[in-house]
């Protein structure tokens, strides 16, 4: 296990597993600020990460030099913008392990990617009486599109329960597959718990009964290795902003054959080949699913965020996050009155907890007074909170730039909240 407290080691090399945290932090301007007189300890990375200077710079660079619409203008800037945008698509494809760039559709984010699949694939492939499986730990983004779809087409939504540790009941999943579902939608890692689901196994089991599988990778893409080809998943959705990239851009990976069989979702410019008076010929994927002017600068910056992460060493970042998770888990467990929520062995760097007798928003306010930023509330997973019998939780989530010292400040703040409000 690496020691994230050690920030004085040599810079990263191929064989060196330690991150130079001080050097990493220097690349994040937003981290250099005081909040209520304290250095910001940003522990809300599962909501969104901060962005390195490199990503911020490329946004400005694009608008200053290459700004033009894509896939249209024959002029120089249009060519440059299109090349950079399509290069970004190839970069995202490489990151996710897709076989070809055309399997990547740029979307506004994970939510839009899932809605795209529900509305395009779902409405054209599901029949009344069909079944769709989700899990009890889904974010609303991977639940509500399916609930709506099921209502619209008369399909039935089945929910895989979780166990006391916040792990998926794979036995129940296997049992529900007996209903021959058409589609399975599952989080790679659950935002409210940090649980990493056994998606490779789930995909194998689902494919055996002919179901198509969508994986919500909003959280996992930054915090776990992803290889869509090796997983053999059918759809994988993620957002740049949780991956050190800008907001407003995300990606949907879809197997080429599936995307080819899907009707357009939104219609408009850039997604059509020919508009006759009595017929329309739509573009091939991925253009078919990118109506209108996309977030061009953001897509390019997304690719730069991935480059930044790769140069830092994604594996090294993950090892660092695991060390932070272990430290946070041990320290919070030692605080009287704190109960961890989501304690499976396979987790990403997320710690959810309740402080007995205290409301999560009161805890979060006291932490914020100390400069510690966490998420508090229902974690956009109200059915999960009901299943756990909890009104809400406090959630701390870690990224490449976090330190053991910041986690110690979190734990101090929780102790202080107990002393003051308990």
């Amino acid at each position: 296990m690496t020691n994230p407290r050690d920030t004085t080691g040599p810079g990263p090399t191929k064989t060196e597993h330690r991150l130079d945290i001080r050097a990493v932090r220097r690349q994040f301007p937003a981290l250099r600020q005081l909040v209520h007189g304290h250095p910001l300890a940003y522990l809300d990375n599962a909501a969104t990460t901060h962005k390195p200077t490199r990503v911020l710079d490329i946004l400005v660079h694009h608008y200053e030099r290459d700004n033009a619409n894509v896939h249209r203008g024959l002029h120089t800037l249009g060519v440059r913008a299109t090349e950079a945008y399509e290069k970004a698509r190839a970069r995202v494809a490489q990151f996710l392990g897709a076989r070809e760039a055309a399997e990547i559709v740029f979307t506004r984010g994970t939510t839009e990617a899932i809605n795209l699949v529900a509305q395009s694939y779902g409405r054209s492939h599901l029949q009344p009486g069909d079944e769709v499986i989700v899990t009890a730990m889904e974010h609303h983004a991977n639940l509500l599109p399916w609930r709506r779809l099921c209502t619209e087409v008369g399909a039935r939504l089945r929910v895989v329960p979780i166990d006391a540790e916040g792990g998926l009941r794979v036995d129940e999943f296997a049992r529900l597959l007996g209903g021959k579902p058409r589609l399975v939608a599952v989080a790679h890692a659950a935002n409210a718990l940090g649980t990493v689901n056994p998606i490779a196994k789930m995909i194998r089991l689902a494919h055996a009964v002919g179901a198509v599988v969508l994986v919500d990778g909003a959280l996992a893409a930054a915090h776990a290795p992803v290889d869509v080809a090796a997983l053999d998943c059918d759809f994988y959705a993620c957002s740049a902003h949780k991956l050190y990239g800008p907001t407003g851009i995300g990606a949907l990976y879809g197997k080429a054959a599936l995307l080819a069989a899907m009707p357009p979702w939104q219609t408009g410019g850039d997604m059509v080949l020919a508009v006759e008076d009595d017929a329309i010929r739509y573009a091939e994927p991925p253009q078919r699913f990118e109506a209108g002017t996309p977030p061009i600068a953001e897509a390019i910056a997304f690719a730069h965020a991935l480059d930044w992460l790769a140069e830092l060493g994604h594996e090294r970042v993950l090892a660092h996050e695991r060390a932070l998770l272990t430290h946070a888990t041990e320290e919070l467990r030692a605080v009287e009155g704190v109960r961890l929520v989501g304690t499976t062995r396979d987790k990403v760097a997320v710690v959810s907890f309740i402080v007995e007798g205290l409301h999560s928003h009161d805890v979060a306010t006291i932490l914020d007074d100390a400069g510690v930023a966490v998420r508090a509330g229902d974690q956009c997973a109200q059915p999960l909170m009901r299943a756990l019998g909890l009104p809400d939780t406090v959630r701390a989530s870690f990224a490449a730039y976090n330190t053991v010292d910041e986690i110690d400040r979190l734990v101090d703040g929780v102790r202080q909240a107990r002393a003051l409000l308990g």
């Binding site: 209520h36 007189g37 304290h38 205290l358 409301h359 999560s360 928003h361 009161d362 306010t365 006291i366 007074d369 100390a370 508090a376 509330g377 229902d378 109200q382 009104p391 809400d392 400040r409 101090d412 703040g413 202080q416 003051l420 409000l421």
Partner: protein
Amino acid sequence: MPDPHTLYRDTLLDHGKAPRNHAPLAGATHTATVDNPVCGDRILVELTIDGEHVRDARFTIKGCLIATASASLMTEAVTGHPLAEIRRLCAEVEATCDGASAPDADMMGALGALGALAAVREYPARRRCATLPWVALRQALGQGQV
């Protein structure tokens, strides 16, 4: 790390940790339940109105310390008071928590213990917590016999 927490002090802490009138009210004539969609908090305000006066006011809450303190202070402030005065008070408290400008010395004087709620002005994310009971109170007052 000890810091002077500006929100969790004195009156709010006292009423938040040991709320007054935090109980169901048998025979209530006016009630309202309000949710805070941001956090899922929920408050039930129950009143006994006798003619033009609130005779009794109680609340039941699933919520944070700030909402609880605000509800406790509110029920103390309205019990025994005429409806017209309470309606005015609702507007004053909501302006105190959420208004464009901070309450002046006269207003703070008039609010008495309720003036403690002005602390949420420094915590925009928590203003709705403080005003939630008052929204419920206004709704309860707006209703007829239940």
